[in-house]
């Protein structure tokens, strides 16, 4: 049983890294007032480019860098459409997702099913050899892939960047009130471009982690809706980097449960009361296909709760989110 729980903890940490990276990127972009629904497409482009570069060069670090840059390139298109052309942010994001899915399916076809020697699990230097002995979570947290450590490290880094640096505070002000920020001498367009591109770099990193550390194979559509979950995760986290970690572990745990419990079978003994009624229900709930829907059901619940909170004025979304900005007077 402890082996199962330890494996579940490992899978949770691995699955949550994708959501941490994509969620942090989405958070930075939304903090500047630009909604990015193209995370899924950016992740796929990052995953494929990272995978291809790694399979050609044999260097997962180079693959990770190229994956990150590929995500940033997709984000540049989104920034151009939303910031320079004032296009609809939701439509632009959906277009990028469609583009990413189509391009990666077509160009990734020769690599479908191939595996690559990506990032392997390493023990955290110096303190890791002691901490890895902690029961259940020790090996999950301190014997992981480098991208897992980087993702965890990025949470305080993003918090410091947003709240303790001039650029971060300017980004937040642009997302709250672009007109006032512009009056104060902050370049709204530059800040929004920067935030969206940083968001794309994070999404590319999330995709590269999927293909180089989590799965180490390429298959089309391998993000499996994680980009959409990352968008919901930001709402769940109420635009705070620290809460991204909690949400990512929750969604990661649900993903891990459905992966790890596929071979398990729970049934009540026939002599147990109500076993005739409960056993079919348990069988239905534990069905792998049904279990694969749990992360998305939770996402839906999170959004419903968020809307209810918004009615109670407890939501802290950036005031100028999804609002395009133009200096011209209407």
């Amino acid at each position: 049983m402890s082996g199962f729980v330890t494996g579940l903890a490992n899978a949770t940490v691995n699955a949550s890294t994708v959501l941490i990276l994509a969620g942090l990127g989405e958070l930075i972009s939304e903090r500047s007032g630009v909604l990015n629904l193209g995370v899924e497409g950016m992740m796929l482009v990052g995953a494929l480019s990272g995978f291809v570069v790694t399979s050609i060069t044999g260097s997962p670090w180079l693959g990770l860098c190229i994956g990150i840059l590929a995500g940033g390139a997709m984000a540049l298109l989104h920034a151009f459409l939303c910031v320079s052309l004032n296009s609809d942010q939701a439509v632009s994001g959906i277009m990028l997702t469609l583009l990413g899915v189509g391009l990666t399916t077509y160009f990734g076809n020769p690599w479908t099913g191939d595996s690559v020697s990506g990032f392997s699990e390493v023990t955290l230097p110096i303190i890791g050899s002691f901490l890895v002995e902690i029961p259940i979570i020790g090996s999950a947290l301190f014997n992981s892939t480098p991208t897992d450590y980087i993702a965890l490290l990025l949470i305080p880094v993003v918090w410091l960047f947003l709240y303790k640096t001039n650029i971060g505070l300017e980004m937040i002000s642009v997302g709250e009130d672009p007109e006032t920020a512009d009056t104060m001498g902050i370049d709204v367009f530059k800040m929004r471009y920067l935030a969206v591109i940083i968001g794309g770099l994070f999404a590319g990193a999330a995709g590269a982690h999927l293909s180089l550390a989590f799965n180490q194979i390429w298959s089309s559509g391998m993000t499996a809706g994680n980009g959409w979950i990352a968008v919901a995760l930001v709402i769940f986290a109420r635009w705070e980097p620290g809460r991204i970690l909690v949400g990512a572990y929750l969604f990661g745990l649900l993903n891990a449960i459905q992966l790890y419990s596929q071979g398990l079978k729970f049934t009540l003994a026939p002599e147990t009361a109500l076993s005739g009624l409960l056993n079919p229900m348990i069988e239905f709930v534990m069905n792998p296909t049904i279990m694969s829907t749990y992360p998305y059901i939770v996402t839906l619940l999170v959004l419903v709760i968020t809307v209810v909170r918004a009615e109670n004025r407890q939501l802290a979304q950036p005031s100028a989110l999804v609002q395009s900005y133009s200096r011209e007077i209407d």
Binding site: L81, L85, S87, V91, G102, T105, Y106
Partner: protein, 68 residues
């Protein structure tokens, strides 16, 4: 003559079925159509003009740089 069954489907699935176009390509086509549409929205609000007139515009009276 178009198969009546195809009329019920979307354009992308129709060309996948009738012309054998891969679904990935139809995804890209859909994305490009949306891209062109949202880019075109920009030109509803702004017009792009091209001027071939090379003569310098006369400076406004009192403009300090215009007298140099």
């Amino acid at each position: 003559m178009v198969d009546p069954a195809l009329r019920q489907a979307s354009a992308s699935s129709s060309i996948e079925t009738s012309l054998g176009v891969p679904s990935a390509i139809t995804n890209v086509m859909e994305a490009l159509i949306i891209l062109f549409l949202i880019t075109a929205e920009f030109f509803k609000n702004y017009s792009v003009g091209l001027s071939l007139d090379q003569t310098p515009t006369p400076s406004a009276p009192g403009d300090p740089e215009g007298d140099v």
